[in-house]
């Protein structure tokens, strides 16, 4: 990220425990917009894409209600590989944006709770994130940023179809709302598979977080809407809320069942995972995420609350174990084996820092 004198250090949004934190990790809203009179990115030359970036960034940062000091302007071409990867891990940019690295640009709010991706599938993708289950907060934030942009630059819109997007699956509201849920008990009790199928039939998507193999190990799932045309933003939010409410309740019920019927086995697993995280000298990403999932569950159940743990530490650990974040901390590209040593070291350091806080 750009270093300058105005680089204010802000506490990242994800270290705060949000509503329903025992099950809900975060809420996210993404809004797609394209400028009127400019072809969609597939039809633009490299030069045109760069110009587009300058135009959007210039207008947005000069808009009323925007303090340019709150935003960091990043051209991905200027950023090293680990830096880019860590932005993907923090979901500030999408993997697709990284594929267009030469022209891709992103504005990131300093607390990392919002970003504007420029030069992805659409001209601009605005996203806002909030800790825990707080779709309204993320939605209001993303909407207010979208409105600021629309007031500055006229956007592709028709009365019939709404906001026009490069992919017709986003046309209309251009809105994708999602909640990231930690569902270890529904996975262990094998209820999730059936639920996921039912949700898909209801027009919602259930995905492993980041779509990576480590996500399955971490029991993190993203529930999001699919439709953007013929359904209002309010209905979209309401429908997702109804489903997420139920999933949270089901997960809690499954945890209770597990705690009742297999308390010893589950407790043993949670404690072993804590010991491994605190002492291991090498951790692969997948293992780290699996262990973190266990202690997240144990902490939510109240079993580990006297063990120098906090939601902040759990959230921080989760954010720091990705390969991009590990290498970015180290400042260089590491071989996988070195990376695993480094990851274990970072995890131990974070536990130690938490102990010193008390």
């Amino acid at each position: 990220m750009k270093k300058d004198n105005e680089n204010r250090v802000m506490r990242p949004w994800y270290l705060t425990a949000g509503p329903e934190v025992d099950v809900a990790a975060s809420s996210r809203v993404r809004i797609a917009r394209n400028l009127a009179g400019v072809d969609f990115p597939t039809r633009l030359s490299t030069e045109e894409k760069k110009e587009l970036g300058d135009r959007i960034v210039g207008k947005f940062l000069a808009a009323p209600g925007i303090d340019p000091k709150d935003w960091v302007d990043v051209r991905l071409i200027d950023m090293d590989e680990p830096g880019c990867l860590s932005l993907v891990e923090k979901r500030l940019i999408s993997p697709e944006l990284l594929q267009n690295r030469e022209t891709a640009r992103v504005l990131i709010r300093r607390d990392e709770s919002a970003s504007l991706m420029i030069g992805e599938e659409d001209h601009v993708r605005i996203q806002a994130m909030a800790p825990g289950y707080d779709l309204k907060r993320a939605y209001d934030e993303a909407e207010s940023l979208a409105k600021i942009l629309e007031a500055e630059l006229s956007v592709a819109f028709t009365e019939e179809l709404g906001f026009l997007t490069a992919c017709p699956t986003n046309v209309g509201t251009g809105l994708r709302v999602s909640v990231q849920l930690h569902l270890p008990a529904l996975v262990m009790t094998r209820e999730l598979k059936g639920l996921a199928e039912a949700l898909q039939k209801a027009g919602l998507a259930v995905r492993g977080d980041h779509g990576e193999s480590s996500a399955a190990a971490g029991h993190m799932f993203q529930i999001s809407n699919q439709c953007t045309l013929g359904v209002s933003p309010q209905t979209t939010l309401q429908e997702l809320t109804t489903v997420v409410d139920q999933l949270i309740e089901r997960e809690r019920a499954a945890r209770e069942t597990l705690a009742r019927h297999s308390r010893l086995a589950l407790e043993d697993r949670v404690w072993r995972s804590l010991a491994l995280l605190q002492n291991a000298r090498s951790l692969s990403e997948q293992e780290a995420v699996r262990l973190l999932s266990d202690i997240r569950l144990g902490y939510a159940l109240g079993w580990l609350d006297k063990e120098n743990l906090s939601w902040e530490l759990i959230c921080r650990l989760w954010a720091e174990v990705g390969p991009g974040s590990v290498q970015r901390r180290e400042g260089e590209i590491l071989e996988p084996q070195q990376r695993d040593y480094k990851r274990a070291e970072i995890v131990r350091e974070l536990f130690a820092a938490e102990r010193e806080k008390d």
Binding site: D39, E150, S154, L161, C167, V171, L229
Partner: protein
């Protein structure tokens, strides 16, 4: 993808032919297609009509993974007049080229909406800002003009001049937008 004939140029034309019951797939560059006598001028791709005429109705794309599998119907040969995107190209990459594509492929997209969307009519707010702001300014100018005309009629030239200046100021702002 490289041309399957010269292995040098980028392929821009894909077709399937069935000859004596054996199907064959080719991806040709514009040059090779011309050499093979596919009639079209100036290096532009042949129309689907001309290809279909040449090979019979044999074109059977297999890129319909997500939507509308099957062969091309006449209305799927459309080309966006603004950006040149063809419906076929869209089907293979899943991205439209520009806002005008929505008009050019309106009929085909309706079929897609039926599968992946909830309806065909937008539900939501209008874009914020510039347009409505511009409308407000235009309304205000119109009101001022009417007042100015009235002032002139009443021979209140001072008032008319004041109104003229305000109209100028407002139009100036509108013009710089």
């Amino acid at each position: 993808m490289k041309c399957t004939r010269c292995h040098k140029n980028e392929a821009s034309i894909e077709y399937k032919s069935i000859i004596n019951g054996r199907s064959r797939e080719e991806n040709l560059c514009a040059d090779c297609a011309r050499e093979l006598g596919l009639s079209f001028a100036g290096g532009t791709a042949p129309s689907w009509e001309s290809l279909a005429g040449m090979f019979g109705n044999l074109y059977n794309p297999n890129w319909g993974q997500m939507w509308l599998p099957g062969s091309l119907t006449p209305d799927q040969r459309e080309v966006c007049p603004h950006c040149g995107m063809t419906w076929r190209e869209f089907r293979s990459c899943g991205r439209l080229g520009c806002a005008d594509c929505y008009g050019a492929f309106a009929d085909q997209l309706k079929g897609l909406y039926a599968r992946v969307q909830r309806g065909t009519k937008y539900e939501g707010r209008q874009p914020a800002g510039s347009q409505s702001a511009a409308a407000t300014v235009a309304d205000e100018i119109a009101e001022l003009r009417a007042a100015q005309a009235l002032a002139v009629k009443n021979e209140d030239y001072e008032q008319a001049a004041r109104l003229r200046d305000r109209i100028r100021a407002l139009s100036g702002e509108g013009g710089s937008k």
